[in-house]
C-alpha cells in the first residue's frame, strides 16, 4: 500500500476529519489565550458541555433510525425544574433524580407512542411536544420558586471531583460509553441502523421497526432528562426558557460528527466530538473577549465551514483512491449499476 493510499484511507475513516478540526481549534485557542489550557478553564469547558453532549448522544440514536426529536430542548429545562422542585420539597436525592429522568421518559413515551403508534410525522409531533414542554416549564418556573437547594449531595454532582474530574463529567462519560456500546455492539443497535438505512426492507427482514422507533424516542427522552438533572445540579436554579435551543445545537453537533439526517449513518462518539467542538468554540471566543452578541453568527458560520470542509476532504480521499491502473472489467449495468453510477459523473435524469 502506497503512502498515498494510506493517507486516503486515513482520511476516509469516519470521524477523522471532525477530530482534526477539533484539534485545530483547540490549538488555535491555546495559542491565542494563555488561560485556555489551564486546569480551571478545561474543567469549566467539560462541565459546561455535559448537558449538550448528552442530548447530542441521545439525538444521534433518533437520527440514525431516521427520525428527529425536537422536544429535547424543553425536556432538559423541564427535567431540571421537576428535579429541583422535588428536592426543594425534601424528597431524597435519588427520588429527585428519578423524577427528573422520568419526566424525560414520559415525554419520550408520548413522542414515540404518537409517532410509531399513530404514524404521525416525527417532526410535527416533537415540535408540538417541544412547545408543550416549554410552556409547562414556564408555568412551573413562574408559579414556584425554583431558587435551588442548600449545597450538598445534589450540587456536589457537579462540584465534587473524583481524581480531579468533576462527577458530572464522569457520569456523562459513562452514559456516552454505554450508548456507544449499545449502538455498535448489541443487536438492538444493529437493528437501529438497519431501520435507518431502509425501514421497509428492515421490516420485511423481521425487524420490528415500529417498536424500535418507540424505544429510540424513550432513549432520547430519558437521556435528555438526565442531562436536565445534571444541568440543575450545576446551576442550582431554573429559569423559564432553560435549555431552549439545545435541540438545534444537538442536531448541529450530530451533523458535524457525520450523522446523516436521512438515517442509517453516524455514531455516538462522533456526535459527542461535534458537541465538544461547539462548546469549545463558544468558550474560546469568550476567552478571546469576543462580544457575545457575535457568538451565534460565528457558531453558525463555523458549522457550515466544518461540514463543507469534511465533505471536501471526503471527496479528495475518494479521488486519491481511484485506481490508476488500466481497468479490466466492465461494471454491472442495468439496475445493478449503483457502483458504476456512483463513479460516473452525475447524470441528469431524462429531461
Amino acid at each position: 500500500m502506497s503512502a498515498r493510499d494510506r493517507l486516503a484511507r486515513a482520511l476516509m475513516v469516519e470521524g477523522a476529519v471532525v477530530a482534526v478540526v477539533f484539534v485545530v481549534i483547540v490549538v488555535f485557542f491555546a495559542a491565542s489565550s494563555p488561560v485556555f489550557l489551564t486546569a480551571g478553564s478545561l474543567r469549566d469547558l467539560f462541565v459546561e458541555s455535559v448537558p449538550i453532549i448528552l442530548v447530542a448522544a441521545g439525538m444521534t440514536c433518533v437520527l440514525v433510525v431516521g427520525g428527529i426529536d425536537l422536544s429535547v430542548g424543553s425536556v432538559v429545562g423541564l427535567s431540571a425544574a421537576t428535579t429541583l422542585l422535588s428536592l426543594q420539597n425534601g424528597l431524597p436525592l435519588l427520588v429527585g433524580i428519578l423524577i427528573g429522568v422520568g419526566t424525560g421518559v414520559l415525554v419520550g413515551f408520548i413522542n414515540g407512542a404518537i409517532i410509531a403508534g399513530l404514524q404521525v410525522n416525527d417532526f410535527i409531533v416533537t415540535l408540538a411536544t417541544l412547545s408543550i414542554g416549554a410552556g409547562a416549564l414556564q408555568v412551573l418556573a413562574t408559579n414556584t420558586q425554583l431558587t435551588g437547594v442548600e449545597p450538598g449531595a445534589f450540587t456536589g454532582l457537579t462540584s465534587n471531583s473524583i481524581l480531579g474530574i468533576p462527577q458530572s463529567v464522569l457520569i456523562a462519560a459513562v452514559v456516552i460509553g454505554v450508548l456507544e456500546f449499545v449502538l455498535v455492539a448489541t443487536s438492538f443497535g444493529r437493528t437501529i441502523y438497519a431501520a435507518g438505512i431502509n425501514g421497509r426492507a428492515a421490516h420485511l427482514a423481521g425487524v420490528s421497526v415500529r417498536r424500535l422507533r418507540l424505544q429510540v424516542y424513550l432513549l432520547s427522552g430519558s437521556v435528555a432528562g438526565f442531562a436536565g438533572v445534571l444541568l440543575a445540579s450545576h446551576l442550582n436554579s431554573v429559569q423559564p426558557g432553560l435549555g431552549s435551543g439545545y435541540e438545534l445545537t444537538a442536531i448541529a453537533a450530530a451533523v458535524l460528527g457525520g450523522v446523516s439526517l436521512a438515517g442509517g449513518r453516524g455514531s455516538v462518539w462522533r456526535a459527542v466530538l461535534g458537541a465538544l467542538f461547539l462548546v469549545t468554540l463558544s468558550q474560546g471566543l469568550q476567552l478571546l473577549g469576543v462580544d457575545p452578541l457575535w457568538f451565534a453568527i460565528v457558531t453558525g458560520a463555523s458549522i457550515v465551514a466544518a461540514v463543507a470542509f469534511d465533505r471536501a476532504i471526503q471527496r479528495l480521499a475518494g479521488s486519491l483512491l481511484q485506481p490508476r491502473k488500466p481497468p479490466t472489467r466492465p461494471p454491472a449495468d442495468g439496475d445493478e449499476s449503483e457502483a458504476s453510477r456512483a463513479e460516473a459523473p452525475s447524470l441528469p435524469t431524462q429531461a
Binding site: A185, T186, S187, F188, R190, T191, Y193, A194, I197, N198, R200, A201, A202, H203, L204, A205, G206, V207, S208, G264, R265, Q322, P323, P326, P327, T328, R329, P330, P331, A332, D333, G334, D335, E336, S337, E338, A339, S340, E343, A344, P345, L347, P348, T349, Q350, A351
Partner: protein, 596 residues
C-alpha cells in the same frame, strides 16, 4: 456546465442547427418551436399529424458522410436510411472500461434489439446515444452527420427519445400535462397554456395508441404500467421522435400487456420510427426484432440481420460466450435433482384467508420438498398473499397453519420466529440494506443466532457464519465486509436469499426472485431454490415470467382478482408437460373465466 462544455455546446448548436441549448427548458427553444417560430427544418416541424403522412426519409446530409462511408459491422440488408449511428464509441469510468470500440447503426423502420448480460455495456451505450453521457472515443452520427450531445435535451432536439426502465412521468400531473411537460404550447403572449392546441395535437395519436379522452385528464400515476409506457411513447412522438430507445420496456408488464406493447412497437416501425430495444427476455425477440446486436463485456459481439435463424439458445451463447446454456438448463435439470425423500409434512396451510378486497378466500398448502408456484397478472393478489403469510398485513378472515399449528402472525418478526422467510419483490427498495456489509445484511433477520445472551453480537461468529453462506451460495465478492450496494443485482439477490437461509426457515417465499438479473445469475437462483426444497424445505415462488414458473414449480396455483382460479401441475414433476401448453392454460385461468 463547465466553460469548455459550454463552448462545445455553442459550437455544436451553431454548426448543426439554430437553437439555444442553454436556455431553460421551460421557456427555451421548445416553446418557440411549439409556436411554430423557430424551426426551419420542415422535417422537424412539431406537427404530430405530419408524422402520419410523411414517413421520415431524411437523407444523409452534410459533408461528413462521404469520408465516413466505410463498412461497419452493422451494415446489413436493410433498406431504411441510417438514422442514428455509433462508430467505434468507447467509454471508461474510473476502474472499468464500460464500452470498448462499439459500432451500431439504427435504421428507419427498424426494430433493433440490443442484448447482453448485466455488465455488457448496454446501459452505457444507450446513455451515450441518448446524450446522457459523452463517449471517450468514436463518434455519433445522426442522419450521417457527426454530432456531439452535451445533454439529453440536445439528443431530443435531434429526434432521439429514450424511455427508461424507471417510469419518468410526474405521477400527479395529468397525462396531457405530462406529454407536454416543459414544452407546452402557449397563448396570450406566452402567459397562458394553450390547452386546446395540446388536445388537438395529441388527438390523432391517442386514438391510434388506444388512450381514451378521459385518460388524458387522469393523473399519470393512476394509469397502469403499460399505459404509462404508452404515455411516454406519445410524449416522444408529439415532439417528432424518429429514434426511440426503449430500455427494458417490458419489465414490470404482464404478458398480455407486453403483447399490446409489441403491437405498438410494430405500429411505430411502420410509420418509420427506428427503435433501439434493450431487453433481457429472449423469448420476446421472435417475430419482432429485425436486427439483433449482442454486446459482451463492453464489446460488440455480433449483429444479426437474419433474426429468424436465431434461437434463444444461440443468442444466449453469443451473450454468455462460454459453454452453451440452453434455456432449459437455466431453469434447471428436472430429472437429476436429488429430491427430498423424507416425510412430506405440511409446512403451511391457508384456510379461507382473506384480506379484502385484494385477497379473497385463499386455500392452499405447501409440503416439505415442494415448490408451489403462484401465477396471476399484476393486482391479482399474489404479493398480498405473501405479505399475509409473513405477517406484514393483518388477516380479515381465515386461518394460517404453520407446521400443523394454527398461528396468528402479527409481524414479520413473528413470522421469522415461526420459520417463514421472504425474498421480497423489489430488491432495491424492499430487500437490501445498501450501506450494510454483506455480513450485516445476512445476519439482520436473526441476530439472536450470533448474539451472546441474545444482546451482544459476537462479531467473529457472525462474520464466520455469514462467510460460510456467502461461499455456499457462490456470491461473487472480494470481501464479506463489502457494502452490498456495490454488488451486482444477481449477487445482491443471493445475499438476500442467504439472509433468509440464515434464519433456518421451514418455508421460504420468493417474490419475483429473478427480476432484473442476468441469465447466469438466474440459473444460480433456481439452483438455490432447488437445494432448499431438496433438503426438506418448502418454497412458494411468485413470478410473472411463465416459462420460469412452469419449469421451477411442482404445482402452480393461478390467482385472478384475489381468488384462486385454478391449479396446474408444473413441468418439474411432469416431464411430458409442454411448457407452452402450460403457459396457455395458466394465462387462460389468470385473465378470464376458467376454461374448463
Amino acid at each position: 456546465m463547465t466553460l469548455s462544455g459550454f463552448l462545445t455546446t455553442c459550437r455544436n448548436s451553431f454548426t448543426t442547427q439554430w437553437e439555444w441549448p442553454w436556455s431553460p427548458p421551460r421557456l427555451g427553444a421548445r416553446v418557440a418551436e411549439s409556436a411554430g417560430l423557430a424551426s426551419r427544418d420542415p422535417t422537424r416541424r412539431l406537427d404530430a399529424t405530419r408524422l402520419l403522412d410523411v414517413p421520415p426519409t431524411a437523407q444523409p446530409r452534410g459533408k461528413h458522410v462521404a469520408q465516413h462511408q466505410v463498412s461497419v459491422p452493422t451494415e446489413v440488408g436493410h433498406t431504411g436510411s441510417i438514422l442514428l449511428e455509433a462508430r467505434g464509441v468507447g467509454k471508461r469510468y474510473p476502474g472499468v472500461i464500460a464500452l470498448d470500440d462499439v459500432s451500431v447503426a439504427l435504421r428507419a423502420s427498424e426494430i433493433h434489439a440490443l442484448l447482453g448480460e448485466n455488465g455488457a455495456g448496454k446501459s452505457t451505450l444507450i446513455g451515450i446515444l441518448s446524450g446522457l453521457s459523452t463517449p471517450d472515443g468514436g463518434e455519433l452520427l445522426v442522419d450521417g452527420e457527426v454530432v456531439k450531445f452535451a445533454n439529453a435535451h440536445q439528443a431530443q432536439h435531434r429526434g432521439i427519445s429514450t424511455i427508461y426502465q424507471e417510469q419518468s412521468l410526474a405521477p400527479d400531473l395529468t397525462v396531457l400535462q405530462n406529454i407536454f411537460l416543459g414544452r407546452e404550447p402557449r397563448r396570450a403572449f406566452g402567459l397562458l397554456l394553450n390547452d386546446g392546441e395540446m388536445r388537438k395535437r395529441v388527438a390523432a395519436l391517442t386514438e391510434e395508441f388506444g388512450l381514451t379522452a378521459e385518460e388524458l385528464d387522469q393523473p399519470a400515476g393512476e394509469l397502469g404500467a403499460l399505459k404509462q409506457h404508452v404515455v411516454q411513447i406519445l410524449k416522444a412522438l408529439v415532439f417528432d421522435a424518429r429514434v426511440l430507445i426503449l430500455d427494458e420496456p417490458t419489465s414490470g408488464l404482464e404478458d398480455h400487456e407486453r403483447m399490446s406493447l409489441f403491437d405498438q412497437m410494430r405500429q411505430l416501425r411502420d410509420r418509420g420510427v427506428g427503435i433501439l430495444w434493450v431487453t433481457h427476455r429472449l423469448d420476446e425477440l421472435t417475430g419482432l426484432a429485425d436486427v439483433i446486436t449482442v454486446l459482451r463485456d463492453g464489446r460488440h459481439v455480433a449483429t444479426v440481420a437474419d433474426t429468424a435463424a436465431e434461437t434463444p439458445e444461440s443468442l444466449v451463447r453469443l451473450m454468455v460466450g462460454r459453454k452453451a446454456h440452453s434455456l432449459g438448463d437455466v431453469a434447471g435439470p428436472t430429472a437429476a435433482r436429488p429430491r427430498w425423500e423424507g416425510p412430506a409434512d405440511e409446512v403451511v396451510r391457508l384456510e379461507g384467508v382473506s384480506r379484502y378486497p385484494l385477497v379473497n378466500d385463499i386455500n392452499l398448502t405447501v409440503r416439505r420438498g415442494e415448490i408451489l408456484g403462484i401465477a396471476g397478472i399484476a393486482g391479482a393478489g399474489r404479493t398480498e398473499v405473501a405479505r399475509l403469510i409473513l405477517g406484514a398485513d393483518r388477516l380479515d378472515r381465515g386461518q394460517i397453519h404453520i407446521n400443523g399449528r394454527a398461528v396468528r402472525i402479527r409481524s414479520p418478526r413473528e413470522a421469522y420466529r415461526l420459520g417463514v422467510a421472504l425474498v421480497p419483490e423489489e430488491r432495491k427498495t424492499q430487500a437490501i440494506l445498501g450501506d450494510f456489509s454483506l455480513v450485516k445484511n445476512i445476519s439482520v433477520s436473526d441476530l439472536r443466532r450470533v448474539s451472546r445472551g441474545r444482546v451482544v453480537i459476537d462479531r467473529a461468529r457472525e462474520t464466520r457464519i455469514a462467510a460460510d453462506y456467502v461461499k455456499d451460495l457462490g456470491v461473487k465478492t472480494d470481501s464479506v465486509r463489502q457494502r452490498i450496494r456495490n454488488l451486482s443485482g444477481g449477487n445482491q439477490q443471493k445475499v438476500v436469499i442467504a439472509r433468509c437461509l440464515f434464519t433456518r426457515p421451514a418455508l421460504l417465499i420468493f417474490d419475483e426472485p429473478t427480476q432484473g438479473i442476468d441469465v447466469a445469475a438466474k440459473a444460480e437462483v433456481y439452483r438455490l431454490i432447488y437445494d432448499f426444497v431438496d433438503q426438506g424445505g418448502a418454497a412458494i415462488v411468485i413470478s410473472s415470467e411463465l416459462p420460469e414458473l412452469t419449469r421451477v414449480s411442482d404445482r402452480i396455483v393461478v390467482m385472478r382478482e384475489g381468488r384462486i382460479s385454478g391449479e396446474v401441475r408444473g413441468s418439474s414433476r411432469d416431464p411430458q408437460a409442454q411448457d407452452s401448453q402450460l403457459a396457455e392454460d395458466i394465462m387462460a385461468l389468470a385473465v378470464r373465466e376458467s376454461a374448463s
